[in-house]
Symmetry: C2
Subunit: 326 residues, 2 copies
């Protein structure tokens, strides 16, 4: 399985072709797992929570895969998530598979490799695939766009500083977990009440950007947990199961996955088109001067865009003509 | 001027080349106008408001251009905005220029033509360029992205149904005008208080998607106006002038325009790349089956994307080879 994922993570063209062949063969055997997205800021206790959850699920006879999307890995070249040593009890269990975040590329590229790894895990028979991320940039939305359910971890004092929570993230949460509730039970209970009322308000007022789940069948819940003490995990899993059962029965899960697949395809096409544009030698040659001209108001933005687009098309033409003429 | 704008609206390639030449020549003479975006739902009284404002500005010795972005025109082929007969008193004044929305194309295309028309108006010496739009889809964000200041018109009863206002729109408003305040003065005063407190809340909590103006120098105002009775117009213009003076003095207006120009260039490049992709014959041939395969889970989204991207690149190659070989 690790070999398959490594093959899919390779950027070599021949590996990519083999990878696509492999994916197409695996695809009929995928889709049976519950795909669970988990997000939270550093320090919220994601690793401990996922380890505790993972061991609980193994106790229930389930196999668990843990994948990670770390948007910072594209900058640092190394992943701050998914380090196996973080989950030492879980990582030694053969019912568990833990894979760190792909360590290079744009967020879109990292997400693509993680999506493909998820398919491999499903084909290998894992029952639950957890995709974790830190709350940086668009990474939560990315994880939300590839999972069946999105869980946001919060600290007990988060309710006091609701404004610090990125609004869009609260809006896509199907479940909010107040972790480390044992540290300050009063604060945790206050946070639970505050977040519950915020979520109700968001539900009423609708959402600006995101297409939220259908409020008619699910009102996001807020739970208290202490991953370290191991309390609240059974209740958490009961809530996940309830949501999953409802969403599967009413057909929303299948619809959500289909939407995600189509959105994923168009995202990758867009990224590929932009990549080809930026790789174009003539575009690269002209871009700096045009950016300066547009910034300084010497050339209209639309004129500059047309100039670059025809450079891009023309360069392809010229390169191909020279090939055709040899 | 109308001829220049018509030339810029043409999609013929030779017109387009002449248009780009014209734009580049005009550009040094642009940028002096105040660019004012005005939005509101149908029935809020945009035409009467703009006509009243326009006549007031002419009275102050200013020349006014009114442009429109109507996203529905791309569907209907005809514009519901910008009809000159709506502003019969303003349209007969030679200090005023009124241009209806370009009547075809995507929202991006319509916006591009309006942006270019704005430059023509500025070069022709208009002091204030008003860009109006109805609150449909992304049109407010589009107008916000090409103006110095964004004004949202509301009806007196809007405060009672704040949830009906698209959240993202409230967040980008620099000024909210409660129009037709004379119809129900009590409701207008209630709405003013409610919207003022909502805006303060939004200012505190920050914004999810949009990059708002710098709250350190401007707290969005809420004004009452009766365009029909002509009350409140001088106060409105005083607020606009105050904002414009502050924003110009602290350098935010120049920065905002530069950002807008660069964003516009990248938007047009993206749109051009996508257009070329969708026009590609091989892509068109393969797309329906691949969409069906991705929807049905027979092929991975990333595999389908790579398939189409190489079809796109390959088709350009094939077409060019056949040209090169003739």
């Amino acid at each position: 399985m690790a070999k398959a994922i490594t093959l899919l993570e390779s950027t070599r063209a021949d590996h990519r072709a083999q990878g696509d062949e492999l994916l197409t063969q695996l695809l009929p055997h995928t889709g049976k797992a519950l795909r669970l997205g988990i997000s939270g800021v550093p320090g919220v206790g994601k690793s401990t929570f996922i380890e505790t959850l993972g061991l609980y699920l193994i106790g229930q006879g389930l196999r668990v895969a843990v994948l990670a999307i770390d948007p910072s890995s594209s900058v640092s070249g190394g992943s701050i998530l998914g380090d196996k040593t973080r989950m030492e009890h879980l990582s030694v269990r053969e019912e568990a598979y833990i894979r760190p975040s792909p360590s290079s590329g744009t967020l879109g590229g990292v997400a693509e490799k993680t999506r493909e790894a998820m398919l491999v895990c499903e084909a290998a028979g894992y029952d639950v695939v957890i995709v974790e991320t830190v709350g940086v940039g668009q990474s939560e939305t990315t994880v939300w766009g590839m999972t069946d359910m999105f869980v946001l971890l919060q600290l007990p004092n988060a309710g006091d500083e609701l404004q610090a929570i990125k609004k869009g993230v609260m809006e896509i949460a199907d479940l909010v977990v107040i972790n480390k509730a044992d540290i300050d039970p009063n604060a945790a209970t206050r946070a639970q009440a505050q977040i519950t009322s915020s979520l109700r308000l968001l539900g009423l007022h609708g959402s600006a950007g995101h297409e939220r789940h259908d409020a008619s069948f699910w009102q996001p819940k807020v739970l208290q947990i202490s991953a370290l003490a191991g309390t609240g995990v059974a209740e958490f899993w009961a809530a996940v199961t309830e949501f999953n059962t409802l969403q599967t029965a009413n057909g929303r899960r299948a619809a959500r996955r289909q939407q995600q697949n189509l959105a994923w395809m168009w995202q990758r096409i867009e990224a590929g088109l932009k990549h080809a544009f930026h790789q174009n030698a003539l575009v690269q040659a002209r871009l700096p001067a045009l950016l300066a001209d547009v910034s300084a108001g010497r050339i209209a933005a639309s004129t500059a865009a047309r100039n670059l687009l025809s450079a891009h098309a023309g360069q392809a033409l010229t390169a191909t003509q020279s090939i055709a003429n040899t």
